[in-house]
Amino acid sequence: MNRKLLAIAPLLAFAFICIFLYQGLFANPREIQTGRIGHEMPAFTLPDLMQDNKQWTNEALKGEVYLLNVWGTWCPTCLAELGYLTKLREQGVKIIGLYYVQGYDADFDGPFDMQALRTEVQDMLERAGNPYQFNILDLHRTLSLDLGVSGAPETFLIDKNGTILLHHTGDINPRVWRSKFAPMMQELK
C-alpha cells in the first residue's frame, strides 16, 4: 500500500501544479493588486521638493480632488507623459507630484545632493511642461512603499476626503484618461 502511494505521489503533485498553471494562464501577470483602493491616504509627513522647510502631510491635502503622480527625472515614460499632464492641469485638474528617488541609500551614498536634484527637475519641467501644483519628495520611498508603488510612472486619484479611488500603473495618455479617469472625475463633480 505504502509503495503504491509512493508511486502515485509524483502524479498527484504534478496534477496539483497543473491546476495552478491553468489558472495562471488566464490571470494578467501585470495586474497589480492594490489593497489601497477605497482606503484613506496613508499618514505621512514629507518635505517639499523645491522649498526648504516646507512639509506636507496627508491632512493638509484633504479638501480637494487631486491626482498623485509618482515620477522621477530618471524615468523616460514620466518625461513622455509630462506634456499630456500639463494639458490636464490647464483644464483645471489638480496634480501633485510624488518625486520618487531611485537608488539613493544614505548608508552608502553620503548626504543627498538636494541642489543637483532641484536643478535637474527644474530643467526637465521647463523643457517638457510642468503639470504639478507642487512636488513632495519621497527620499526614502516610505510613502511609495505604503501606497504599493512598484515603479514610475504611477498615478493615484484621491477624493476630497483623502480616499484613494484609483491606482494606475504606466503613463497617462488621452486613451487612459478617457477610459479610466474621466468617468470617475465626472462622478466626483
Partner: protein
C-alpha cells in the same frame, strides 16, 4: 513561394511523425517486426523535411522577405547576415521551429545509432520521440507558424532584431540550450519505453546513459553561455539573476545531474531503478515546464515573450498528456520493480544517493521559488515576490554538505568501505585545502570574512580531493604514468565535472566577496583608481555600425604607470526602433575582469561611467565549460560505442 514550401514541408514532416508515433508502438505491442522496422526511416525522413522547413525560413530571412510576418518583425535589411540567420530564432515562432529541428535531429540520431538495441525497445523509444514530435509540430502548424504572410500590404523594412539579441552569445545560446532540453527527451523516451516493455534492468540504464550525458553537456554549455551573455550584454556585471526563465533552465539541469549520477548506480549495481526512471521523466518534464513558463507569459520576467492564452493552453495540455501520461505509467508499473543489491552506509551507493537528495532538494527550492508567487496570487493571498536573497541563502546552505560530499564521494567504493582507509585521504585533503585557501586569501586580501573563507575552502577541497583520488587510483597500477593511462573515460569525465564545479564554487565565492564597483563622473583626462588599476578617461568618440550609431567612451587602464589595455565602452542607438544599448567593455583575465560601462552624458563634457573590478568571475564560465566537456567526453567512451558488426549481430539476435 519558398516560405510556402517551408510550411508544406513541415506538414509532411508531421505526417511522418504521426506514422512514427503509431507504427512502431503498435508494432511493438503486437510483435509485428515490419511495423517496427519502419521507425528508423520515418525518423530520418521527418528530420529531412523539418530541415527543409528551417532552411526555408533562413532563406526568407537572408533575402529580406518582409512579406513573411516573422521576418518583418525580427529582422531588417541592415542587419549583418549572421544576425539574419540568428534572427530566425530570435522570436517565438522561429524558436519553436529551431526546437523542432533539434527534436527531429535527436530522433534521427537515435534512429541511426541504436542498431544494437532490441527491436521492441528501439521501436518504442522512437515511437515516444515521434509522439513528442507530433505535439510540437501540431503546435507550430496550428498556432505559431513562422511562415505567415503579410499580404497584400507588407512593410518595406523590417522591425529589426532586438538589439539585446545582436550578440555572439545569442547566436549559440538558444541552440545549445534547446539541444539540452530536447536531448533530455531521449532519456525520457528510454524511460517510457522501458516502462512499456516492463524491463527496467541495468541494460536500460546503460543505453540511456550516453544520451543523457550528451544532453546534459549541451544544457551545461547552454546555461554557461547564457550566463556569460547576460554578463557581457546587460551592462551591469551580473551573471545570474534567478529570473524565472533562468530557473527554468536550471531545474532540468539539476535533475539531469542527479539523473546521470543515479544512472551510474543503476547501471553498475542494478539498484535505484524506479528512482532513476522517475528522474528521467522529471528531467524532461521540467524542460517542458520551463518552456511553458517562458512561452505562455504566465510569469513576468526580463525574458518575457508575448502572452497568448491559446498557445499557453496548448502547451499546458501537451504538458499534461506527456508528463501526466509518463507519471501515470510510472505509477502503474513501478510497484512491480524490485531492486536487489546490498550496501553498507559507508559506500558509493549511499554517497550517490545523498548527491541525488541534495540535487532534488535544490530543484524543489527553485521550483517553489518560481511557482510560489503565482500560487500565492491565485489563492487570493496577494502578490509576493521571491528573489535573489532567498535563492542565494538556500543554495549557500545546501552547498556546504554537497561540496563536502563531492570531495569524499569519489574515494568510496561500491558496497562498503573501511573507514580507516578513508581517514588518511580525507585528513590530507582537508588540511591541504584549508592551508592553501588560507595562504591564498590572507596574502591577497586585507579582509577575509569567515563565509568567504568557508566557501573558497569548499571549492579548493573539491579540487584537491579529486586530485588525491586521481593519484591514489593511478598508483594502484604501479607507476603513475601507467596508472593514468588505465583510468577509464567515464572516470576522467567525473574528474572534469568535479574540477569544473570546484572552479564554479571558488569563482562564485571570490567574485561575490571581492567585486568592487564605482560610479564616477569623468571629464577628458580624469583618472580614477579602483584597486591596483588606474582608469584614465580619454574622451568620447562617435561610432557607426551597420545598423546603429553611438558613442564609445575610451578609457586607458594603467597599472603602475604601465598601460594594461584600452577599453571602448559603447552606448549604441539602433536605427530601427531607436533603442539604446549599453555595450560594456571587458578586459577579461584569468584572475580578474575589468568591466566598464558608459552611462549618460552629464553637464560640461563630463560622462558618467561605471567601473567594475571583478576578481575570478571568469572561473564561473571556465568551470561551466569544463562541466559540459565532462558530458561530451562520454562520446569517446568505447563501452558505449559498438562496432557495426556487433550491432548487426545483436540486431539479428533480437529478431529471434
Amino acid at each position: 513561394m519558398i516560405p510556402e514550401i517551408g510550411y508544406f514541408s513541415l506538414t509532411l514532416a508531421m505526417v511522418l511523425s504521426v506514422l512514427l508515433c503509431i507504427f512502431p508502438l503498435w508494432g511493438a505491442h503486437t510483435g509485428n517486426l515490419r511495423l517496427m522496422r519502419a521507425a528508423p526511416s520515418l525518423a530520418i525522413g521527418q528530420f529531412a523535411f523539418v530541415l527543409i522547413s528551417f532552411a526555408a525560413l533562413i532563406y526568407a530571412s537572408l533575402t529580406d522577405d518582409f512579406t513573411v510576418s516573422y521576418v518583418a518583425y525580427h529582422s531588417s535589411s541592415t542587419l549583418p547576415w549572421y544576425y539574419k540567420i540568428t534572427s530566425t530564432w530570435g522570436g517565438h515562432e522561429g524558436a519553436i521551429l529551431l526546437w523542432l529541428v533539434m527534436q527531429a535531429g535527436w530522433t534521427a540520431v537515435v534512429a541511426a545509432r541504436s542498431k544494437s538495441l532490441p527491436w521492441v525497445l528501439r521501436a518504442r523509444v522512437l515511437g515516444v520521440l515521434g509522439f513528442l514530435g507530433v505535439g510540437f509540430m501540431m503546435y507550430t502548424l496550428l498556432l505559431s507558424s513562422p511562415f505567415e504572410r503579410l499580404l497584400p500590404y507588407f512593410p518595406v523594412e523590417g522591425r529589426d532584431l532586438n538589439p539585446l539579441l545582436q550578440d555572439p552569445g545569442m547566436i549559440i545560446h538558444p541552440p545549445l540550450l534547446y539541444m539540452g532540453y530536447v536531448g533530455l527527451s531521449v532519456a525520457f523516451s528510454f524511460a517510457i519505453a522501458a516502462l512499456l516493455t516492463g524491463k527496467l534492468d541495468n541494460t536500460w540504464a546503460k543505453w540511456s546513459r550516453p544520451w543523457t550525458m550528451t544532453a546534459w553537456g549541451f544544457l551545461s554549455l547552454g546555461i554557461t553561455i547564457g550566463s556569460w551573455w547576460a554578463y557581457a550584454e546587460l551592462g551591469w556585471g551580473g551573471w545570474w539573476f534567478w529570473d524565472p526563465v533562468e530557473n527554468a533552465s536550471l531545474m532540468p539541469w539539476l535533475v539531469a545531474t542527479a539523473l546521470l549520477h543515479s544512472l551510474s548506480v543503476t547501471e553498475k549495481r542494478g539498484i535505484f531503478k524506479s528512482w532513476t526512471v522517475l528522474l528521467a521523466i522529471a528531467a524532461f518534464s521540467l524542460s517542458l515546464l520551463g518552456t511553458f513558463i517562458v512561452r505562455s507569459g504566465i510569469i513576468v520576467s526580463v525574458h518575457a515573450f508575448a502572452t497568448d492564452p491559446d498557445r499557453g493552453l496548448f502547451i499546458l495540455a501537451f504538458l499534461g498528456i506527456v508528463v501526466g501520461g509518463g507519471l501515470a505509467l510510472y505509477a502503474l508499473r513501478v510497484s512491480q520493480v524490485h531492486s536487489e543489491g546490498r550496501y553498507k552506509f559507508v559506500s558509493r551507493e549511499v554517497a550517490l544517493w545523498l548527491n541525488n537528495i541534495f540535487l532534488v532538494v535544490a530543484t524543489l527550492i527553485v521550483l517553489l521559488g518560481t511557482l510560489l508567487p503565482m500560487v500565492h496570487k491565485e489563492m487570493g493571498l496577494g502578490s509576493i515576490s521571491i528573489g535573489e536573497p532567498f535563492f542565494n541563502k538556500m543554495f549557500a546552505i545546501l552547498l556546504v554538505p554537497f561540496a563536502i560530499l563531492m570531495g569524499i564521494g569519489p574515494f568510496l567504493r561500491w558496497k562498503q568501505n573501511k573507514w580507516a582507509f578513508l581517514q588518511n585521504k580525507i585528513a590530507v585533503g582537508v588540511l591541504a585545502s584549508v592551508a592553501i585557501t588560507c595562504v591564498w586569501l590572507f596574502s591577497a586580501y586585507d579582509e577575509v570574512t569567515p563565509l568567504t573563507l568557508l566557501a573558497t575552502t569548499l571549492g579548493v577541497w573539491v579540487a584537491i580531493s579529486t586530485l588525491i583520488d586521481i593519484v591514489t587510483k593511478a598508483a594502484v597500477h604501479g607507476t603513475l604514468k601507467e596508472g593514468l593511462k588505465r583510468l577509464g573515460v567515464s572516470y576522467w569525465a567525473m574528474v572534469l565535472g568535479h574540477i569544473g564545479m570546484a572552479f564554479v564554487i571558488a569563482g562564485v565565492a571570490l567574485t561575490s566577496a571581492y567585486s568592487v564597483e564605482r560610479d564616477v563622473s569623468m571629464k577628458q583626462g580624469d583618472t580614477v583608481q579602483l584597486n591596483q588599476y588606474n582608469y584614465r578617461f580619454e574622451g568620447v568618440k562617435t561610432i557607426r555600425g551597420p545598423n546603429y550609431s553611438g558613442h564609445a567612451g575610451v578609457v586607458t587602464v594603467l597599472k603602475n604607470d604601465d598601460v594594461v589595455t584600452r577599453l571602448y565602452a559603447e552606448k549604441r542607438k539602433y536605427d530601427i526602433g531607436m533603442q539604446f544599448m549599453t555595450e560594456a567593455a571587458i578586459d577579461a583575465g584569468f584572475t580578474r575582469d575589468l568591466y566598464l560601462a558608459l552611462g549618460e552624458q552629464l553637464s560640461q563634457g563630463a560622462w558618467s561611467l561605471r567601473i567594475y573590478h571583478k576578481p575570478f568571475v571568469r572561473w564561473l564560465w571556465i568551470g561551466g565549460v569544463l562541466i559540459s566537456l565532462a558530458g561530451f567526453m562520454i562520446l569517446f567512451d568505447k563501452r558505449y560505442r559498438t562496432s557495426a558488426k556487433t550491432a548487426r549481430k545483436a540486431a539479428a539476435e533480437s529478431v529471434l
